[in-house]
Symmetry: C2
Subunit: 362 residues, 2 copies
């Protein structure tokens, strides 16, 4: 086992004292970085990049070489699990993901099974390889976060076959045949739990569930079709590995209305988007979970002075750590970083988080 | 002046007793109706339809001839005001709206002025003509709702030039040059107030501000750049006309987090989307405003039995009227009705609202 040079992220997720607020960015290894685009073009396609442990390792580490980020996150796609179930993931040039065989009839749905983990071996190999690449002379720079789409978010793509503004096919199934939707979600929850446990086994030191489309659901439907299955995944996770606690983060984009209920789902931390005031969110969740977020990614298009000001405002809105909860805020964006972000602006963000947050941790 | 045969909507918006919960649907005159599509194809284009008082009157009344809706809403576009400011509204086939001259530099922005109302005469003519068409033998069937985009939502399209996933240009301006964004919003607030007052003068009996993109803003930015200017419009509105109170509704899509603050902005009612639980929303706003909403439009893709069940759940989530607030719920969708809605499903919705809600009004 290697020692962790910087365990700030893990401590903050577990609400333990840290010297400053840790920061990482959703999609930090991505298209805003010229070195990422170079690797991707060498790979030939996004799928070739995402399925190669070597190349996934390379791009995972790129943002860490530029910025003093407090975590690495596995470079992968959120649709690996349904792809391994046989739905046939494809990326057409200039478009989002598509499944060749979306779930459109009862027979298909009832035939759905969790995938053999062997089909996802390339992901676990990437996790192990990234852990090794993060470590030099027995010291690991920062922890590695593993992740999966939530059962609901996977179901959205599996039924719709692609991204959507209104998830028409998905919601038609949900409201017309809730029994079939629950079947998909049960299979997904089992598959996602096994997938994340295998990532933990391979070396992921924290895990995150991306419930990107939970916020598309109505109040009531969210609890029944999204949160319930995220909670099942969280309950089935291996939360200790190699003697360390493995914190779990649940992020529902557009889920600000439901933070009180989400705080009881078994996650150590909840991700929040920028529509949520962190002070109000902190009151809503009490000392049950840490919070992760929530700068509007569009702030990074502005001037360095404006970025500094907005980053400080996010830190201040969470407020100083308390005696009973000495940690509990992980700085992040409220959504993935935009491909149009000037890379030098990320430096301003990271530096401001680190310098400004020290006073909040005294 | 004509008598109003059905004033349920106006009474509910003012939280007065009614026999049942009134219902209308955002975009109720629209592409899901074959008769609308027939009129639109006769018009030749969406803009030709929207700018003809005769044709706008025809399509405004179409859904009322099919369903027992409790209100008519002016058929128009939300971008009429910036078009009249000279930005050049265009609709390309199969695409959303675009402005030929989006606001991209300081000189353009500082030169922006509220439009001469004469350029919007076709809208006020449509309002007057719809009022006449709703009236037979001195009795008006249902009240007519006028509307406008909110200052912020208009600014989104004016700066971006078109719809957007991330409003990159708009937010870059907001964060980099808040002074210029405030200038646009001041002009818009003045223009929107004058526009709605002219609709009221022409015969609109309630008005609605569509803040469709308020939910794209961060907490803090929403209050500063959206709510503040909606409140300015509401403060400038003529709230009495021809001896009757003219209620005003503010709808911020994705604004569920901010209902407590929105309840103090001067609106009589707040529109809410389906992510909001109406019971929680009612607690948040207290007896300050009525609520309008909030069925997920996707429910209308499901079976009649499922539609009935979900409509009842929305009504029950608001709950029975109280002694101190005998009215206060207007049933609606949480967003515009989808073009893919089977028209016969709307009948199920309207009938269920009317029949099921009577017990809540005893």
């Amino acid at each position: 086992m290697s020692a962790l040079a910087n365990d700030t992220l893990l401590r903050a997720l577990l609400r333990q004292p840290t010297a400053y607020t840790p920061v990482w960015l959703m999609r930090q290894a991505g298209r805003y970085l010229p070195e990422y685009n170079a690797t991707r073009s060498r790979a030939g396609s996004f799928l070739a990049l995402a399925t190669s442990p070597e190349l996934a390792t390379e791009v995972t580490l790129q943002p860490l070489d530029r910025y003093a980020l407090d975590a690495a996150i596995l470079f992968s796609d959120i649709l690996t699990v349904p792809d391994a179930m046989g739905l046939g993931l494809r990326f057409a040039a200039g478009e989002g993901p598509r499944f060749e065989h979306p779930l459109r009839n009862e027979a298909q749905i009832l035939g759905l099974r969790p995938p053999a983990l062997e089909r996802l071996r390339y992901v676990f190999d990437a996790v192990a390889q990234i852990r090794r690449a993060l470590t030099r002379d027995g010291v690991q720079r920062v922890p590695l976060i593993g992740f999966s789409g939530s059962p609901w978010t996977l179901a959205c793509y599996m039924v719709e076959g692609q991204g959507s503004d209104d998830w028409r096919q998905t919601k038609t199934l949900l409201y017309s045949r809730p029994d079939l939707m629950h079947h998909v979600l049960r299979v997904n929850a089992e598959a996602v739990a096994a997938y994340l446990n295998a990532q933990i086994e391979a070396g992921a030191q924290a895990v995150m569930l991306f419930d990107s489309w939970g916020g598309a659901l109505a109040d009531g439907a969210f609890q029944e079709f999204s949160l319930r299955y995220s909670a099942q995944v969280l309950a089935a996770l291996r939360r200790e590995h190699a003697g360390a606690r493995v914190p779990a983060i649940l992020f529902t984009k557009g889920g600000g209305m439901w933070l009180q209920q989400m705080a009881e789902c078994g996650a150590d931390a909840l991700g929040v988007d920028w529509t949520v005031g962190l002070g109000a969110a902190r009151s809503a969740v009490g000392e049950r979970v840490a919070l992760q977020g929530n700068l509007d990614p569009s702030v990074l298009f502005a001037t360095p002075a404006a970025i500094e000001q907005q980053v400080r405002a996010v830190l201040d809105s969470y407020g100083p750590m308390s005696a009973t909860q000495p940690g509990g805020h992980v700085f992040n964006l409220g959504h993935g970083i935009s491909q149009f972000t000037p890379p030098e602006h990320v430096q301003v963000l990271v530096d401001t988080v680190h310098s400004h947050s020290r006073a909040l941790h005294r």
